[in-house]
Amino acid sequence: MNQEEGMNLTPKTGPSPSDEIGIESLPVTSYWADIVRAFTKNKIAVLGLCILTVIVFLCVAAPWFTPYDPVMDMDLSKTLLPPGSEGHPLGTDHLGRDIWCRLLYGGRTSVLTGLSVALLSGFVGVTIGLISGYFGGTLDSLLMRFTDIMLSFPFMVLAIAIVAVLGSKQQNIVLALAIVGWPGFARLTRGQVLAIKSTEYVEAAMVAGFSHFRIIFSHILPNCMGLIIIQATLAVGGAILSAAGLAYLGLGVDAASPEWGMMLSQGKGYLRTATYLTTIPGIAISLTVLAMNWIGDGLRDAFDPKMRK
């Protein structure tokens, strides 16, 4: 950080700063490099990242790993085949569709929903949090009052009502979960902005006459990013769970297209005969969310200087 500046304070005579004793023994690392190092030391977090990478890769490159189409390839002569069957490693569902294939394509929908919700609610929440915390005053009280009211909704009930009214489409599910998700980001960001605003470097920037825009985006926001990233990671997992819950209630994407929650919901009719119809998508959801949570916990420790030292 500023070891170099410190070194420069020594008299210019004599050896150049880089020859000073101690400069090699004090490695100069950036903030982000520190975080990456702390994160990679955390075995569980790295494991989570590996699991997630594999899952995302399998889903994105789904056609490479399965010869079937998730919707069109029905075979009514091969319904409810158990896992391990010829040509169907995870078996088939009640319409004879390959489960491995539907799992891969379904992951696209679930993961995409999770990411979109985190991005959308993060964008709205961070914007409101930044404005509220930075400008303060009446605007702050109004915005925070509204945020608190939104936080005081039982969120799943509200999400169910929104999707029930707007209709179960993927955009509406993302919208509903973002509407219930942004207040968390807003509260978090505002708290962080308030703390950073009173630091000397922000005061210095204000005295120097920098524009609000520049102060917010080059001094305040970068220092909030740690907490925001953690919150976003956890939000992805939460959104995948909530979307699956909505799908289970029949508020998911349409029944034909593959989605993990929907697969689970369809499998519940076969609890006695074909348990794997519910266990397989359930494991997929749990594993993805678990990986996200491990990454989130790892990031939280990595961003926390107390944990790092």
Partner: protein, 320 residues
């Protein structure tokens, strides 16, 4: 104290107003024709006269704001309208189902504390030991499992494979405590899972925090038995932040109950919600949302007031 109670109660009013407005607007922006839903006409045409009658009767011809004010005025008197689907009073229908849901929520709350208290305390006392790792790992897994999937796994294991417990339905207390608990245990366990996981983490970190405080060190140096230090000094103080979060978790429980009731065919508000969604019974959806939000607010209000009694710092602070 009373100023605190009054101030806290008054604060709930704007929240209620915004909630009622949002809930009302939700119905207003609903795609589809309410007249068609009310008359339930799939094949026959609705004449303009019929439409006019229905619109006048349901107040559908009035402008948005007037309809909202009417809605609010009626809601205050406990009149949330009539169901499109059954023609029954929405308030009564929801209230009939409410006790079952509350029972389920209370049971899972108790169950979750029974799990999280020992686990959280153990993890904090044996900090950085294998017990700590196990408890933390269990908590993370608990947060990551979909609630409804855990419910289905419970059904598969305990009802279908082992045959120990019923997979659906419920029993009343007057049918005996045995049957009552038999029906209650699986839904409550499935609902309690994620809350127990969150609470374990909370109790652990709160206990760790308290155990590092001077008064705990002092109690130990006085030569008090470890047990007395833990339960007399540490646990009491560690529970304060935990209790505050319980109010917030009730929101999650309410949402979770909707899904859980669906899995176990539990005759509560959640089942009613799902049925109303399938029938596109919007007044019912509106009424349920409003009443659930209202109960959630009231529970939080009560928790906050109780909390003010427990912790004088809260009621004496000027800002909320």
């Amino acid at each position: 104290m009373w100023t605190y109670v009054i101030r806290r109660t008054l604060q709930a009013i704007p929240t209620l107003l915004v909630i009622s407005f949002l809930v009302f607007s939700l119905l207003y922006i609903t795609p589809g024709d309410p007249v068609e839903l009310i008359l339930g006409t799939e094949d026959r045409k609705i004449t303009p006269e019929q439409r006019a009658i229905v619109e006048a009767e349901w107040g559908l011809d009035k402008p948005f704001f007037e309809r909202y004010v009417n809605f609010l005025a009626r809601a205050i008197r406990g009149d949330l309208g009539t169901s499109y689907a059954t023609g029954q009073d929405v308030f009564d229908s929801v209230m009939q189902r409410m006790p079952a849901t509350l029972k389920l929520m209370a049971a899972s709350m108790v169950l979750s504390l029974l799990i999280s208290l020992p686990l959280g305390i153990l993890a904090a006392i044996k900090h950085n030991s294998i017990w700590d790792s196990i408890a933390t790992a269990l908590a993370t897994v608990g947060i990551s499992l979909p609630r409804f999937w855990f419910g289905l796994v419970l059904i598969i294991t305990f009802s279908l494979k082992l045959g120990w417990l019923p997979s659906m339905g419920s029993a009343n207390l007057d049918q005996g405590l045995g049957p009552f608990l038999k029906f209650l245990i699986l839904p409550a366990a499935s609902l309690a899972l994620s809350m127990a996981a969150v609470q374990t983490r909370m109790i652990r970190s709160s206990m760790l925090d308290v155990l590092g405080q001077d008064y705990v060190r002092y109690a130990r140096s006085k030569g008090l038995k470890e047990r007395a230090v833990l339960y007399g000094h540490a646990l009491k103080n560690a529970m304060i932040p935990v209790i505050t979060t319980i109010g917030g978790e009730i929101g999650g429980l309410l949402g979770g109950a909707v899904v859980t009731e669906q899995i176990f065919s539990w005759p509560g508000v959640g089942r009613l919600t799902v049925n109303s969604i399938t029938k596109r019974d919007y007044p019912m959806i509106q009424g349920i949302t409003l009443l659930l939000c209202f109960s959630y607010l009231m529970i939080n209000l009560i928790v906050d007031i109780l909390y003010g009694f427990i912790d004088p710092r809260i009621r004496l602070s000027k800002k909320d």
